[in-house]
């Protein structure tokens, strides 16, 4: 059974709920009411402070078969997830489903917990490193479920992911559970992904390495949603939580792509005083802001807001008065993490506010322009950011499909080839973002406009930009690198790719 983007979707998927095929970006309508956590009572003399994680696991009554969640604001510096799972494994609890907002290289130790039956299900935005390789090779019996950031928030609010216990690492916290993204030992800025878990989980354990006096306010996660507080020595490796500052690229290819992309934006109908934008953290994507800045200064334009993963270049533009508001679900570097507690119009939002398609309107809906990257893009403009050209899982869905569907102008920036790997291909290995939500592809060898967007083509043609068809780009890539052999897969599904609305866009098969 094929969905509307030509992807073969199995009728039934082991361990997955009823299959809904993807049909178009806003086709699937929400039904029912939001999920909600149980009512609780904490009396005036009760203490929430526990001595260690094991005690917290006992207190919340974690049992075989339950679902637990984590956030990925500590990225590849995160110690919490491994710490909690190691403890659960030692305690003999099995058959746990984990629902972290994402996974990174540091979570490789999960492999042994999967082999031992401690973990049997994974919901995540992405997976990397050896864990991703093993999952691609069929490590797990049940396929993992890949969701976008907005899609995860939606699934939690809809009760499709029911979190029994959320274990949330927080850089500072008081004994009553008021938590912030900045502490003495570690700092991650926005706690946007964790806030959703805190609101909807049946039980919430805040884990901190900086226990501060009550009240630790204003708090990102507040006392009314936290059951227990645990102090540990160290939440993570702060060098890997947020790198010092995102640096501008010097790579001439990336700069060329960024310059083209900025000229697409500047010539579009969306570039005006008070516009809004989001850029990813990739080299070209970040450099776009530099070119935009120049033109904004020239025309005396200010952006009303910048959304997303906030980075140093955006903070600089804010401080120079070029951006009025920073709307931050995740702070990408230390500069952004500092800024959120220092700059008055730098706001923390949660993942539902950011990009959930089934609430009463997310911030992404108000976006004019988004600049995104891609591992692969095909002739229908479908984008893959999850599997490598070898078919192995190696990336994350992130906010890619959310912002592409929501923004008025969505631009993909990517080199035509990476080494011997073509970026523009006949058919992407896995679809994360449907082509009908992508407007323009900018490469170092030319710019292709989605034929659906004749208006954009009209506004950027005759401006000295190298506009070509996406087929032409695909052929030039092939001329340079040759024709790659198709990847061979087994029949078994190792991952289900959910679109942000909960329909299935694609599945990832076990690698041969």
């Amino acid at each position: 059974m094929k969905n509307s983007i030509g992807r073969e979707i199995p009728e039934n998927i082991l361990g997955y709920r009823e299959v809904h095929k993807y049909s178009s970006p806003f086709d699937k309508k929400p039904l029912g009411r939001r999920a909600s956590p149980p009512l609780k009572q904490v009396k005036p003399d009760d203490s929430k402070l526990l001595s260690n994680i094991e005690e917290a696991i006992k207190k919340v009554g974690l049992k075989d078969g339950m679902t637990i969640s984590f956030h990925h604001h500590f990225r590849s510096g995160d110690y919490i997830l491994n710490m909690v799972i190691d403890t659960i494994g030692r305690m003999g609890i099995k058959n746990i489903t984990i629902a972290p907002s994402s996974l990174s290289n540091i979570h490789e130790p999960l492999i042994k917990h999967i082999e031992n039956g401690v973990i049997t299900g994974i919901h995540t935005s992405g997976v990397r490193g050896e864990l991703a390789n093993e999952i691609s090779k069929g490590l797990m019996e049940k396929p993992i479920v890949i969701r976008s950031h907005g899609g995860r928030a939606r699934a939690i609010e809809a009760g499709e992911i029911k979190i029994d216990v959320a274990f949330l690492g927080v850089p500072s916290c008081d004994e009553y559970g008021n938590a912030k993204g900045k502490g003495q030992k570690s700092m991650c800025g926005s706690l946007g992904y964790a806030i959703v878990d805190a609101k909807y989980a049946d039980a919430v354990v805040a884990i901190t390495d900086d226990l501060v006096p009550y009240p630790n306010i204003p708090a990102s996660i507040d006392q009314t949603s936290v059951d227990y507080v645990v102090e540990v020595d160290c939440l993570g490796d702060s060098n890997r939580i947020a790198s010092g500052a995102t640096r501008f690229t010097k790579n001439p290819k990336e700069l060329l792509i960024a310059e083209y992309a900025s000229r697409v934006i500047i010539n579009s109908q969306y570039f005006k005083n008070g516009f809004s934008f989001q850029t990813g953290s990739g080299g070209s994507s970040l450099a776009v802001t530099r070119f935009l800045k120049k033109e904004m200064n020239l025309r005396n334009y200010r952006a009303r807001f910048a959304l997303g993963g906030i980075t140093k270049p955006m903070v600089e533009m804010y401080e120079e008065g070029l951006i009025e508001n920073l709307i931050d679900v995740q702070s990408f570097d230390l500069v952004a993490a500092e800024s959120i507690s220092k700059n008055s119009n730098h706001y923390e939002i949660d993942a539902s506010q950011y990009a959930n398609p089934h609430n009463r309107g997310c911030f992404a809906n108000q976006l004019d322009v988004v600049v995104l990257s891609a591992l692969e893009i095909d002739k229908d403009f479908n984008v893959n950011v999850i599997t490598g050209s070898d078919g192995m899982i190696r990336g994350a869905s992130g906010g890619h499909s959310d912002t592409a569907a929501s923004a008025k102008l969505s631009i993909i920036v990517a080199p035509l080839v990476r080494g011997r790997i073509p970026t523009v291909v006949d058919r992407v290995n896995t679809v994360i973002t449907p082509g009908e939500t992508i407007d323009v592809l900018v490469t170092d060898r030319g710019i292709a406009v989605n034929p659906r967007r004749k208006d954009i083509l009209e506004s950027i043609k005759d401006k000295g930009l190298p506009i070509v068809s996406i087929e032409t780009l695909k052929e030039s890539a092939e001329k340079i690198v040759g024709k790659p052999k198709s990847i061979e897969y087994e029949d078994r599904t190792v991952a289900v790719v959910e679109y942000r609305d909960g329909s299935i866009e694609d599945v990832i098969k076990q690698i041969k």
């Binding site: 050209s389 070898d390 078919g391 990476r418 080494g419 011997r420 790997i421 340079i480 690198v481 040759g482 790659p484 052999k485 990847i487």
Partner: protein, 98 residues
């Protein structure tokens, strides 16, 4: 072209290929390839190495190739250099071969 000693060319940088050519005690050309793009381009890389050696009339060698996503033109150039070094003829290049 007769290989008299081990010839090497290329680096381990990305987009390059490192080629080592040495005499094969048995007859024929044996290729040991490791590549970051084995699944997509492994066969193509072997084909280019073999064709380049045949063109240079190099026989009875063992080729060890460590590829980091080199393009065909790079692979050809590295194989040619390695073969000429192995034949100790890198200063007397027979351009007619190419």
């Amino acid at each position: 072209m007769k290989i008299v000693k081990t010839g090497m060319a290329g680096t381990m940088e990305s987009s390059d290929i490192n080629i080592t050519i040495e005499k094969n005690q048995e007859s024929g050309i044996k290729i040991y390839l490791t590549s970051s793009v084995e699944k997509q381009f492994g066969d193509q890389i072997r084909k280019v190495i073999l064709e380049t050696l045949e063109q240079m009339k190099v026989n009875d060698v063992v080729v060890r190739a460590v590829d980091r996503g080199a393009l065909d033109c790079t692979i050809r150039a590295r194989v040619q250099s390695a073969a000429m070094r192995g034949a100790m003829s890198e200063n007397q290049i027979d351009w007619g071969l190419f």
